[in-house]
Structure formats: structure tokens, C-alpha cells
Symmetry: C2
Subunit: 194 residues, 2 copies
DNA sequence: CGCGACGTTGATTTGCCTCAACGATTGTGG
DNA sequence: CCACAATCGTTGAGGCAAATCAACGTCGCG
């Protein structure tokens, strides 16, 4: 069942006893979303931290002009939430929406706080997850400042080949910080080159 | 002495017993750097996580054209390191350099790993620190995509008024992802407006 | 079939960069 | 105490990457 994928993930980072694994699973729940559904909306408090079993989500900011700016994509084995809203239990700055039919394991804020007490090793798990997320996010800032749009796109394909093939181009453009028109021009230019 | 500032910081996030505080302090060391000195250089393995007591550091990436791109500034009560290099104990992508004479408390990689075992509560402290860092870094990406250079500068001044007054403009320009010339033009434009 | 979602292409505009020259300030050694 | 270099900031001319706007193409689906 779906929770097995979560256990596999956890076991790659920390060692839990069988009892601890049972406690962990007793405090999470699984949920399915349809393509297009939101798991968080700007202004709401983000109640869950989601571990993605299958499918794909985007976390995005909607600016004053109605433009979407994608903070991150999440696919299998990734975490998805408005983390600021979740940890502060404050209104969300971002929207999180399913790009495909999506299955997740949910940690509610209260249950996760309980779990940290029941299984202190989980602090370590999430510390490591956050380290990775921070490193990746810093690298993305550097890429956005030191590379041209074309090179950012090529790097994106290199880093996330599976995502590139699954989602519409206009979302990739948003993630890269460019318009869909310009990404289209970049792609035709790349095709001409080879 | 300097280590008091670290204790104050720790106490704001977790509760340690007196014994634990003593253990913690026994595993860290304080160090002073002069303006211009590096705490990490690109290619070296980052051996320490630094908690800033006084002074200011910049973490930056030097690209193929020799241009600096600033990942973050760190002042009093902030953490400074190439976190990717530190957690993987792998060659650093970034340089960390002191912009002022700087005093830090250092956690060596080995001592921090020991400390996580001796005082598991520290996992929680660093989890929270990383949450904050990730949230701030995500917000910076959104700002860099949704705001003009001028608005990013105004936001920077709003978020980090003390940093703005302490460091040369060309570093702020680098942090904002623009050239020093263009920041100069932005500033003169702002002055004209009021 | 026809509509909506997504992608393409071209003309024009613009935000920001590059390059170059020129201050202003500080520090340093003769 | 002054020359001078180094460091940092300013200003202007010209150029380019990417945005905007608009029109059109394509495909899947109710």
C-alpha cells in the first residue's frame, strides 16, 4: 500500500524500530487528489505536509498582475507544502495545486508535532530533508542570476528530465522565470542547432 | 564572552539543561577573522558551520566570467557556511568571505555530528533554523521573478535595513542580481522621486 | 464539430547590461 | 603633507536579452 513508499524513504535516512514505524504510520493518512485540485490556497493556513506517492504538484505565487511564479514542483518521493505557512500555521503566501492526479501521505501539523516528541529521530529526518531543499533552492538562485534563459532551460532538463516531459511548457517557463513565448523561441532555437 | 550570544540564541529555540549547555559550549570554539579573510573557498571542503557573533560575511559564487553572485549575507545571530559543502563534506561551490572584522562561534563537522548524538534536541534547533532559511530563500526567488530591480532594492532595504547601511553598493547589486551601474541609476531615480 | 487549452511565430518595446569615462574618498608611502 | 593608487560610486551612449502584444496553429475532448 502507499505507506510503504514513505517507509522506504524514511529508511533511507534514519533507522526506526518496528514499533516506531507503526507509530509513524498511525499518525499519517493517505489521500488522493484529482488533477487541478488545490492542497493549499493562498490565504488559507496550510494544515498538511504532503509526501508525494504518485502524481505531480506545483507550489506557486500569484502576483498582483495575476501572473503565476512557480516555487517548486513535487513528484514521487518529494515533499510538498507551503512550508512557511505550515511551520508558522499562518496564512499561506502560495498555492499548491495538482498538475496530475496525485496520491500523497499527509502529516497534519498537530500529528507531526506529536511525532517529533514520540520519535525524536524524525527531527533528524526533516533536518536532512530541509538541508537538501535549502541547497537546491540556493543553487536555483545562483542559476537564475548567472545563466541565460536558454542555459537555465537546458540545466532544468538535465536536473529534472522526468518533470520536463510531464508538464506543460508554460509551467516550466514560469519556473524558469521567463514567458511561455520566449521558452518556445528557445526550444526552436535549440532544435535548429542540432 | 562570545559564547553567551550563542546560548541566548539557542535558548530562544529549545530548552537545554545546564549540563547540556556545558557540553554544547565544550564542543564549539570561537574565532576572529579580519575583513577580507575567507572562511571557505570554492573547491575546499567547508569544515565549519559558523554562528556570527559580530561582523558580516558574504557567501558567493564566482562564475566562469569571474562575476560574483551573492547567495547570502550573514550578520550577528545568523549562520554562515557553504551548507552544501558542509553537510556532504564535499568541495565547496561557494566562497565565504568576511566583509568586516568578524567574530564567530564555530561548529566543526565532527563536533556537530557528536553533538547531535549527545544532545538530540539540537536536531530540532537546526531543523527550525533550516526551515527559516528555506522560507527566506524561496521568498527571494519569488521576488527575483515577480519584482523589477527597483522594487527588489526597495524590498531589500525594508528587509535588511542594517545590512544596507553596512556594505558597499556593488555587493547589494550582486545580491539583487543586477550590475552596480544599474543600482546606481535606480538610487538616483529614487532620490528624484521624493 | 467546435471550443478550450496549449504552443508558435513575428513585430515592437523595454529593462537592464556593457563599455567607457569620470568623480569622490580613503589610505599609504616617500 | 602631498602624490598617487586603490576602491567605490556616478553618468551617458549604445546594445541586447527577454517582455509584450497580437495573430495564428494544433490537438484533445465534451
Amino acid at each position: 500500500m502507499e505507506k510503504q513508499a514513505l517507509l522506504d524513504y524514511v529508511r533511507r535516512h534514519i533507522d526506526l524500530t518496528t514499533e516506531e514505524e507503526i507509530v509513524l504510520l498511525s499518525k499519517v493518512s493517505s489521500r488522493n487528489y484529482l488533477k487541478g485540485q488545490y492542497t493549499v490556497q493562498q490565504g488559507d493556513v496550510c494544515k498538511n505536509l504532503n509526501f508525494v506517492i504518485s502524481g505531480c504538484l506545483k507550489t506557486f505565487y500569484m502576483d498582483a498582475e495575476g501572473q503565476e511564479h512557480i516555487v517548486l514542483f513535487a513528484i514521487e518521493d518529494w515533499w510538498s507544502s507551503d512550508i512557511g505557512s505550515f511551520v508558522e500555521q499562518a496564512p499561506a503566501d502560495y498555492n499548491v495545486q495538482c498538475i496530475e492526479n496525485t496520491s500523497v501521505i499527509q502529516f497534519s501539523y498537530e500529528n507531526l508535532e506529536e511525532l517529533y516528541v514520540l520519535i525524536p529521530k524524525l527531527e533528524r529526518l526533516f533536518r536532512k530533508m530541509l538541508e537538501k531543499a535549502l541547497i537546491a533552492t540556493q543553487q536555483r538562485i545562483i542559476r537564475s542570476f548567472s545563466l541565460t534563459a536558454k542555459d537555465r532551460y537546458l540545466k532544468f532538463k538535465e536536473l529534472y528530465p522526468t518533470i520536463d516531459q510531464r508538464i506543460p511548457q508554460y509551467m516550466i517557463a514560469s519556473y524558469l522565470g521567463i514567458t511561455k513565448e520566449f521558452l518556445s523561441k528557445i526550444k526552436s532555437q535549440i532544435i535548429l542547432e542540432q
